[in-house]
Symmetry: C2
Subunit: 229 residues, 2 copies
């Protein structure tokens, strides 16, 4: 594995305060793998043998039931995923597939749990990370249950806008149909909702989104830190 990756991983909240010894213990047993796009990395229900860290590319977390499928999250570098299943040694609840060619580090779950009980700082970081994830899903649930599809889209655009350093022009980092699924709507409905938002300060051309009237969009979206973070 390139040194560059090591350094980046080391800087993740999860590992930054880790003892060197613990960190190398984790890395010693780790696999560094490259995957092509559209590979199913994880099938929900599988036992959680590895903690995954995405170092380049993109990964979709999704779930299937009875011929239906929904996107639960999109993971971008550098970040870990499916920590909760790893810690509890239970089956994964989400499936994962690469969206692009991706580099992924696989750390055996037993190693994670071993270091967790040896290194207090790691335990601390894991708790914070799990709590953060938990709160993220709670926000998602509130978003789904309290808002209409167009309100969800409007607020999501505001979140992206904030994340992009508040530039009024941004590029959607995923296909629209995945965005639609993530927001709990169909691709068709997303399209129509975008045209609806044209009256509320949003212009769309392909994956480019221009927020031409932030005030209008905010008035429509009514964002709150208790949902949108």
């Amino acid at each position: 594995m390139p040194q560059k990756n090591f350094d980046e991983i080391r800087e993740l909240d999860l590992f930054s305060k880790l003892k060197d010894e613990s960190f190398s213990k984790l890395m010693r047993g780790a696999y560094f793998k490259q995957f092509p796009p559209q590979i199913e990395l994880i099938d929900e229900g599988d036992s959680a043998d590895f903690l995954h860290i995405l170092t380049s590319g993109a990964v979709e977390l999704f779930s299937r039931w009875e011929n239906r499928e929904t996107t639960l999250a999109t993971v971008f570098p550098i970040s870990t995923f499916i920590l909760a299943a790893t810690m509890t040694d239970l089956a994964y609840l989400m499936s994962a597939r690469t969206l692009e060619k991706s580099q992924i580090i696989l750390i055996p779950s037993e190693d994670v749990r071993a270091v967790f009980s040896e290194d207090r700082d790691f335990a601390n970081a894991i708790v914070l990370e799990l709590a953060r994830c938990y709160r993220g899903v709670v926000r998602t649930t509130k978003n789904l249950k309290l808002r209409s599809a167009s309100e969800r889209l409007a607020n999501h655009l505001l979140v992206l806008h904030k994340r992009m350093d508040r530039r009024n022009s941004l590029t959607l980092p995923y296909e629209k149909r995945r965005l639609a699924s993530y927001l709990g709507m169909t691709a068709e409905n997303l399209s129509r909702t975008f045209t609806l938002l044209a009256e509320n300060g949003v212009e769309v051309h392909g994956k480019e989104v221009v927020i031409s009237d932030l005030g209008k969009l905010e008035a429509f979206a009514r964002p709150t830190s208790l949902i949108d973070g």
Copy 2:
């Protein structure tokens, strides 16, 4: 506080493996309070000063946005709630109200965090509990996004049935309108959905639900361990 309560709390997964010393440290700073029904214990956005433990009564966790409100969970004794906010020292993301007269133990968040970093077993238990909560909300999200309202109701009845030792007759432990809100539907729609389920092995009289044909209900609900636990 009655000794009986102490013992019951001690048996919670979160506290059972705790050193006596740690447990008393937590209890020393704790408040034991009684609340009448319909009292708002927590307003989302408040800072998370206390970990709450419900020892009798019932508490609803809910959220509001723009004049809409949704039930996120109902808590029954004996259990803790809002652990994640406590650990991260961030604002609560859910509001809470008593549904009945309730006894609640309030443990200052700083004490919880202090004991967490002193007592390895407690740290362990907290991680497991957080991961469990996280996975619970992931299931909720999948349920909301992958299933229709009637499928959610059918599966929820199966969950209650399982929880009630698989007796074919059970009593709904909450008002129907709260169940409706929890399942992400209106009270009216819940009513109609119950009549729909009459053709699928379910009889309802008030809060009494009789599963007259488990096979039929299961065929309709198609439960899966990856959503329904």
